[in-house]
Symmetry: C2
Subunit: 341 residues, 2 copies
Amino acid sequence: VVQLEINQLKKLLTDIFLSLGVNSEEASIVVGSILEAEISGVESHGLLRIKPYVKRIENKLMNTQPNIQIVNDKDSIIIVDGDNGLGQVVAHKTLKICFERLATRNVILASVRNSNHFGMSGYFSRKAAEKGYIAIVASNASPTMAPWGGIDPLLGTNPVAMSFPVTRYDNFTLDMATSATARGRIRTFERRGEEMPVGLAIDKYGKDTTDPQAALDGGTVLPLGQHKGYGLSMFLDVLSAGLSSASLSYETESMFQANRVSNIGHFFLLIKLDGLIDSDQFKERMEEWFHILKDSEARPGFEEIMIPGEIEQRKLNQNYSTISINKKTHDEIMKLRERLL
Amino acid sequence: VVQLEINQLKKLLTDIFLSLGVNSEEASIVVGSILEAEISGVESHGLLRIKPYVKRIENKLMNTQPNIQIVNDKDSIIIVDGDNGLGQVVAHKTLKICFERLATRNVILASVRNSNHFGMSGYFSRKAAEKGYIAIVASNASPTMAPWGGIDPLLGTNPVAMSFPVTRYDNFTLDMATSATARGRIRTFERRGEEMPVGLAIDKYGKDTTDPQAALDGGTVLPLGQHKGYGLSMFLDVLSAGLSSASLSYETESMFQANRVSNIGHFFLLIKLDGLIDSDQFKERMEEWFHILKDSEARPGFEEIMIPGEIEQRKLNQNYSTISINKKTHDEIMKLRERLL
């Protein structure tokens, strides 16, 4: 691992995106999302994504000056066209539109097309919870998971994040892939040279494997809870891409390839409490509930009951000025600096 | 097992509910839901629920003449008070209100309080898909699952069902508990005298167990995918009970006890396609997708790739006139007949 100053790293990453024609506001959105993932321990959506993002921009497969707009508007549900912008930029803009809508209503849904990989879903649902909203944020993804009982990667590990506000806790954020593991976590195992536990992935013959290389080389990740993750992935594909006419997961290419436009879809659902119920009372009740859960007895082998999102939030709250990053990832970024800056 | 004529069984069950003061329309809703669960193979939400429902009505813990009403109305999101009616009756009425709302809008959310166990979630989401809507239907439930890493049953195995319409397929219906297994399935293992696979439940000491009796006797079911099912259960508790001010799962009692009112909460989200996108095109696209999934290669050990809901729907479509039911369940119902009719 390599230890880096976060501020310096942030400036470096921003400069890389600026050098590719991304404007400064949008560069700051993308870098913010990637750094938050890395700092909160979600490496799979952190710095290892920089290289493929750069490659897609250089291959003119992502639009650095997108004209993001609402193409269908039914007040409480909108369809957004991301004009092939960077996923984080499209998602950020969509979230902003949702926030504006919530000034005059209690519910907004958005389904988004023509977007790209948007990083960590929880980054966006957490922002909504910080504003006091209940939120679901989902996306489809490139096909890396077989239907339950199958071998062919026809589904994404389509992630979904859910957040809600609490009085003193930062919030609740569940951020999960619909696979038994995130594909990025298999890449992390590979990068660290570690074996995986069984049950996460199959090889290209449909057999269980603990070798990350076998899983990545023509194999697929297994769905969360067998048929359940399979069904969840399909349903999120429908909300993200079926509603918006984006590509379904099976119609997209891997984000680590860079041959054609992604046309990834996203989905947002936000609920405003104010005007519907007493939001302070709601948040207090959630707070109380968290304490009951945390004060309950732990199983042998567990030190503490954690609230979903608590581990990540603790890391973010530490506000360290440095971060240790994987050597291979570090080298990739240094090469980009050399070439682009 | 005992073989019974479905029509005769339906009449018998309806007569039992009528004898308890449930009116005929509502009896037909409850019996319809229970029989559909039993026929489609979801025994855990089928006939074994009859006895506890009867007990709760007899103990005056469920209201057979509920005045179900909207208590908060923001057009696209409503809070419904079920007046302690039978869960199926409250859910049916709420669904009807949602259908009415969708005549003039594309999205409706409902959070419901003062309700009871409503049976199989998929029964309601499937009805919405039959009308052409995309639907999510969820409920909280009595506390039978510990937080991830814990022992104390503070969470429900809160079920959620998701459906969407397809051209020629009946529809897509994913109906799942947020636990590794439904608590009812453990009861089914117990009733059949079978061992469970490991990973479904822990005993009262927090240890893994394969004995259904040990799991039911002070043990808890494990969450789906460890922390994921834990987070999902919490989030569904919030949508069902946090929003509506129903009891959170930990505040309710087991539905197999009958000492106090449940105050269970439900959640509904329905999306109308017409007016938003071309619904015929959407359904055709889904149909095409299903064929691509079904035509893909199966893993060794699997005969066929199934679409979520397909197994249940096939059973329903067979339209058998008889059904075989568990002997113990049959005896329970016969005793109720003797006592009540």
